[in-house]
């Protein structure tokens, strides 16, 4: 079997084509949003909102409303409750987040258990890439497009909001509105991504790509390219591996992303653990070579320096 066969064989099945499309869209949308979440310090918030949308999605399913509506309502409800618990009690924010989102998630589980068509809804929790229907895919495409368009047209405002909300306020922008829009987009993105990897693993797709890109560059504009590229590659690799190894597709995609992060963490040229050391050693070696060629008498010292490193 050639590499081309390996790549083309799964695409003979319609369900695999839909799975691949869903995985690609979800991974790209999540990755773009994750660039801001990581910089604002909203990773925990992403975790909370992506879990807290569960009861909203289940209720929407029960009454026949769009999933996105239920998700956004419960996403904001979660954020409001977290804020209320934090501000009106002596409980700190991390505890407030933990209390609110687990309770809402539990409510979602209970609602699923009392709703007749149980199998369908359990896919929301663990994801069901291979069972994505045409209707699901349409929803993913529409929501994904909305999120991407808003994020990319207002990207400079969101970046300023993340970097210096005080300055944003001082020049007449409204940081509260920007923050609220970002939270709304987070809830919509959770709906997109839960088709792919399920509620439990959404947070991985909302954090890992942005965090990986942050390790690789000092330019936000480049993060916005690196994160979705890395995330899309991981989605494809994860999906193919799950096809041939017959393992869980959502889990495989997140494993691929985790591996990509580990590589950036270790070998990233600037901020990687080993990468920065290797770069520093190269610089030192180059410096020694420069000295050696400038003054012949230091040649031996330069070589000694090079050999003991």
């Amino acid at each position: 079997m050639t590499l081309l066969d390996v790549l083309l064989e799964p695409l003979g099945y319609d369900f695999m084509v839909r799975a691949l499309a869903t995985a690609l869209i979800a991974s790209v949308v999540c990755a773009v949003l994750s660039c801001w979440l990581v910089l604002i310090g909203w990773s925990l918030m992403g975790d909370a909102v992506s879990h807290a949308v569960l009861p909203g999605v289940v209720l929407a399913y029960i009454v026949g409303a769009p999933f996105a509506l239920g998700a956004v309502v419960f996403g904001f409800l979660a954020v409001a409750l977290i804020g209320a618990v934090r501000d009106t009690s002596r409980v700190k924010e991390d505890a407030a987040i933990g209390i609110v989102f687990t309770t809402l998630f539990a409510l979602g589980l209970v609602l699923i258990s009392i709703t007749p068509s149980q199998t369908d809804l359990n896919h929301i929790i663990f994801g069901n890439l291979l069972g994505v229907s045409v209707g699901d895919l349409v929803q993913v495409v529409v929501l994904g497009a909305v999120v991407l368009i808003v994020l990319l047209t207002k990207r400079r405002d969101f970046t300023l909001y993340a970097f210096d909300p005080t300055h944003a306020h001082a020049i007449g922008l409204n940081p509260r509105v920007l923050g609220a829009v970002l939270l709304g987009l987070l809830a919509l993105t959770a709906v997109v991504a839960l088709q792919a990897v399920g509620v439990i693993l959404v947070v991985a797709m909302l954090i890992i790509p942005g965090a990986t890109a942050y390790l690789l560059t000092d330019r936000f504009s480049r993060m916005l390219l690196i994160a979705p590229a890395m995330s899309a590659v991981c989605a494809v690799v994860g999906l193919y591996l799950s096809y041939y190894l017959d393992t869980a597709s959502g889990g495989m995609i997140v494993l691929a992303q985790g591996t990509a992060f580990a590589l950036a963490y270790l070998f990233g040229p600037r901020h990687g653990l080993l990468g920065s050391r290797i770069a520093a050693r190269r610089r030192r070696a180059a410096l020694d070579r420069g000295r050696a060629s400038a003054t012949p008498s230091t040649t031996t010292r330069g070589q000694a320096g090079a050999s003991d490193t």
């Binding site: 047209t153 970097f163 300055h167 944003a168 001082a170 020049i171 000092d218 330019r219």
Partner: protein, 246 residues
């Protein structure tokens, strides 16, 4: 003539904490005013109130005769944050940060036009950071970081500059460079309010000084404000003569 900055009887609470208690301050255009007071005396709170970040329980703030919201939309207020409030590892270059000064004048997507780029380059040159403009914002020295944020205010065209402790962690030479820059901006008509703990350098920096302790205890020339009696009132100890007593 309307004052550039007119703060009248402003009172601010954070929950139970009384941060400002009837503070009143009037500044004319083109003046540099040094704001001094001990930790917790309300300096940062006064800045936040002027910017409209904190709503006063009582009192009014007028900027060029207009309420703060109008001044914000007009891009009049430039702010140089306290160092602790900035995420120095944020992946933006110095030039990117200065460009954010132009956002109020840009369209919905904040795409820079040639005029914006020109204003940014001019501001960078003004603070002598042109060579370092492509560096990530955290890869600057303390003094250079401050100048980058002053450049943002210049690019913005702000006529009122608020600087919260710009000299903290900055050496004497950088402090002198920043002082020279602020004096130039004031000479061109900018009104500048600077909080500082560097009392020795105050006379060379500021035209006037304000002693804050939840309220304005004293407002006058730096020499008038820097008397041992006045300082004892604000700091509760003999600041200038304590070298002799220890």
């Amino acid at each position: 003539m309307t004052a550039a900055l007119d703060v009248t009887d402003v009172t601010v609470h954070y929950g139970e904490v009384l941060a400002l208690d009837g503070a009143t301050l009037r500044l004319d255009a083109g003046r540099i005013c040094g704001l001094i007071g001990m930790n917790g005396s309300g300096k940062s709170t006064l800045f936040k109130t002027i910017m409209g970040l904190v709503k006063p329980d009582a009192g009014t703030v007028l900027i060029n005769g207009a309420p703060p919201a109008a001044a914000r939309s007009a891009g009049v207020i430039g702010y140089v944050p306290q160092s602790e409030d900035v995420d120095w590892s944020f992946p933006l270059s110095v030039r990117d940060v200065v460009m954010t000064g132009r956002y109020g004048r840009m369209g919905l997507t904040r795409r820079p036009r040639p005029a914006d780029r020109a204003a940014v380059e001019e501001a960078l040159a003004r603070v002598e950071l042109t060579e370092l403009a492509d560096r990530q914002i955290g890869q600057l020295s303390g003094g250079q970081k401050k100048r980058a944020f002053v450049a943002r205010g210049i690019a913005q065209g702000a006529s009122i500059l608020l600087l919260d402790e710009p000299f903290a962690g900055v050496d004497k030479r950088s402090e002198a460079t920043i002082t020279r820059l602020l004096r130039e901006l004031a000479a061109e008509g900018a009104t500048i309010l600077v909080s500082t703990h560097d009392l020795q350098a105050l006379p060379s920096l500021a035209d006037e000084a304000v002693l804050l302790m939840r309220r304005v205890l004293l407002h006058g020339s730096p020499e008038e404000v820097l008397t041992p009696d006045a300082l004892a009132l604000a700091f509760g100890l003999d600041v200038l003569s304590d070298g002799g007593s220890r």
